[in-house]
């Protein structure tokens, strides 16, 4: 999901100009050497030869990419506090989880997604954050606190968020149809022109939203109903994809596809015929949040780092670099109107219907998994498969043994 993020140059330029004139920070404060960070004891670990280990998604932080206004987050942190940053990347929540679970490495800050945070908190893998060390938490919008994955908001500080919607190609789409509904993905008019997620959670979420059920349902009948709908839909699907979608939608290969807003912006830059809508039935909103795993060596330094990422200046730079939506009030205020109204920031109404994923019980996960596998291997199910295989192997075995027997006999003769 996060692999294809690009910098949105016009956005940076616009919001930077805005920042210059915004009353929040004086024009002179725009260059980061002279930027005044908020009142906080940044210097308390200086000279103590400290370091923090940060584990984050790939391309998920602002780095010095040679652009004019490039901002190197980690370098700026080291300059400000004297704490060194060891930064490393993961490609999926599960990869990060597996690495932490195996215990071979120690990290001070991790940035997983919602359902994974719930799972890790549940398995006692997260440290409670001391929020008096993170005063900038006050910038996090009210509706991004006490999320379903961390109801008491003890373990996480939201970093970025995004919403799932439908991307459609105007040239291949009939204007008279309403694209803002999940039903459109079941419309026979677009047979073989629809792409779908090749991961069970997102695909089931779409089917569940369309049926009006909760995305986190544990009811077997609801899940089976959703699976039955997905299997009806399968006849209309061109392909089940993940990252391949950038190529396929960019190249006009399909008319409709569900995906996340931040990535939709990237695709729309490649292909101006693409549009993005958020379906009326409700959709998934994901939140990636900063956490401190158990066994962190420098918890206080980690909290300082989290506070640093919540600094308005830093959060703005990261938001511009990544292109996802920010939960930071001050940063949102600094964005220009065009961005505020863009697909990254859907209406209150759309957000109120959005649901987060939470970790499902293992029985439900297993059911989801087997329903999904069944769905994915339906066409491949050939009743002759196993008999033919058995007959072939048995003949082969008989053949080999008969030959050996005969050869033995000739040798004896």
């Amino acid at each position: 999901m996060k692999k294809y993020i690009k910098i949105i140059k016009p956005l940076i330029a616009l919001s930077l100009t805005l920042m210059m004139f915004s009353p929040v920070c004086a024009p002179a404060a725009a260059s980061y050497e002279s930027y005044e960070y908020s009142d906080y004891d940044w210097d308390r670990f200086r000279g103590k030869n400290m370091s923090v280990n940060v584990y984050n998604w790939g391309e998920y932080i602002s780095v010095d990419d040679g652009e004019e206004d490039a901002f190197d987050t980690n370098k700026a942190f080291t300059e400000l506090t004297g704490i060194r940053v060891n930064y490393s990347n993961f490609a999926s929540n599960e990869e990060m989880y597996a690495k932490l679970k195996s215990g071979g490495s120690s990290y001070d800050i991790i940035i997983p997604s919602d359902y994974m945070i719930a799972r890790m908190a549940n398995e006692n893998m997260l440290e409670k954050i001391n929020f008096s060390n993170v005063p900038n938490f006050s910038y996090i919008a009210e509706n991004f606190r006490n999320n379903a994955f961390d109801v008491t908001n003890e373990y996480s500080v939201p970093y970025m968020w995004g919403i799932m919607g439908i991307i459609y190609n105007k040239t291949l789409f009939d204007e008279s149809d309403n694209p803002a509904t999940w039903d459109i993905l079941w419309n026979e008019k677009y047979a073989k022109d629809i792409l779908m997620f090749s991961n069970s959670r997102d695909s089931f979420a779409i089917s569940l939203f369309r049926l009006g059920y909760s995305v986190n349902t544990t009811d077997e009948n609801e899940l089976r109903e959703a699976a039955a709908e997905l299997s009806k839909q399968k006849l209309l699907i061109q392909a089940y994809v993940m990252d391949e979608i950038f190529d396929k939608m960019g190249g006009g290969e399909a008319a409709l596809a569900p995906y996340y807003a931040g990535d939709a912006i990237t695709m729309m830059e490649d292909n101006p015929d693409l549009e993005f809508v958020v379906p009326e039935e409700g959709t998934n909103v994901f939140i990636d949040a900063m956490c401190i795993p158990k066994g962190a060596k420098n918890k206080e330094a980690a909290e300082m780092y989290i506070n640093f990422l919540c600094e308005t200046r830093v959060a703005l730079k990261n938001c511009e670099y990544i292109g996802y939506s920010t939960p930071h009030i001050a940063v949102y205020e600094l964005l220009d109107d065009e961005t505020k109204e863009s697909i990254s920031y859907p209406s209150e109404e759309a957000l109120s219907k959005a649901q987060e994923y939470i970790t499902l019980p293992s029985d439900t996960t297993r059911l989801l998994d087997s329903l999904w596998t069944e769905l994915m291997s339906q066409t491949g199910k050939n009743p002759w498969l196993s008999p033919v295989l058995i007959v072939v192997s048995v003949t082969l075995i008989i053949f080999i043994n008969v030959r050996r027997y005969r050869k033995k006999k000739t040798r004896e003769l």
Binding site: A121, D150, N199, I237, A239, G252, S377, G380, K381, L385
Partner: protein
């Protein structure tokens, strides 16, 4: 003899660290599962406690940290702290049964791909082996050429070739044909396998065929063997070891591939490799089940290899006799 065993030491270390230990770990993972136990040693399912959302209960003390949970479950019978424990189980192996159709599909497609590879490679390798030395080198280089490029990139290239707006359909449109639906099918997956693994069939076949002395064939002809008899009684038996190793080298990677089916199969032709990938890095995350699947796959592959080895040995014996 002493010297050779000393020379083998680095390899033995390499093998034990990177092959034997991981294999052992797969075995351990396949037959175990991690459960939560309370202080009294009872196995409990934390989810049945009704505190799924993590922030509900303190594992050390049993203290409630939030009462957001909808259902109040009686947890007085649980003694804290909760700890995690790894126990022996056969559940993972049983669970693999659900996925047998996927395994069969993988074997089926891999068999087809192997057969096609063999049919294409056999005459080609024979032809190359009969050429003069210089042309042999050029032909071999041509065979190896695609392998200089990254495997993923080559498969990706097939995607842009086979798509509806891809190059093949564009070319066909010029002469008024198409468009054809080529990608997102089992045929495309087999094509991807054949394309990617063809060199692994050609090379062993070629190397064994260059060893067949031209004079052997000539003497067979002198003794009155027709073309068919020369092939059936001289070339085929002599090239058997090459066939056996070629089949192994194509079948084994083909049966466990996962990226080809994802890119060219459109996601609907899930293979066992995709399933295993899903268990380790996907959202199905269950390494124990993934290890059990790998174990079953490994046994299948071993069976297939021993079958081809049988073929090989038998034929070699007959040649020696």
């Amino acid at each position: 003899m002493k010297q050779t065993s000393k020379a083998a030491v680095p390899y033995i270390i390499w093998m034990s660290v990177f092959i034997v230990i991981p294999l052992f770990l797969i075995g351990v993972f396949a037959f175990t599962t991690t459960v939560t136990v309370d202080a009294a040693g009872n196995i409990i399912d934390p989810e049945t406690l009704g505190y799924m959302d993590g922030a509900g209960i303190d594992r050390e003390t049993g203290e409630l940290t939030a009462d957001e949970s909808e259902e109040e479950t009686d947890i007085s019978w649980v003694t804290f702290p909760l700890t995690e424990k790894t126990i022996f189980t056969l559940d993972n192996i049983f669970a693999v049964s659900d996925y047998l159709p996927v395994l069969f599909l993988s074997i089926w497609l891999a068999l087809i791909a192997t057969a096609i590879c063999l049919i294409i490679s056999y005459p080609l390798s024979y032809m190359i082996s009969r050429m003069n030395f210089q042309r042999q080198n050029i032909m071999l280089m041509l065979v190896m050429l695609p392998m200089w490029m990254n495997f993923l990139l080559r498969t990706y290239a097939w995607m842009t070739l086979l798509e509806r707006n891809g190059w093949i359909n564009k070319l066909l449109a010029l002469i008024g044909l198409g468009p054809f639906e080529m990608i997102n099918s089992q045929g495309a997956v087999v094509l991807g396998m054949v394309y990617n693994y063809l060199p692994f069939m050609i090379l062993p076949l070629y190397s064994i065929m260059t060893k067949i002395d031209e004079r052997t064939i000539e003497s067979a002809q002198d003794l009155g063997a027709g073309a068919l008899a020369v092939f059936g009684r001289v070339i085929l038996p002599l090239s058997m070891p090459g066939i056996a190793s070629g089949i192994t080298m194509v079948f084994v990677p083909a049966v466990s591939t996962f990226i080809i089916s994802r890119m060219l199969g459109g996601g609907t032709n899930m293979l066992i490799g995709d399933l295993i990938d899903l268990q380790f890095l996907g959202n199905a995350y269950n390494p124990n089940l993934g290890a059990a699947m790998s174990l079953v796959l490994m046994i299948f592959v071993l069976l297939c290899m021993s079958l081809t080895n049988q073929l090989d040995n038998e034929e070699m014996e007959s040649v020696l006799l």
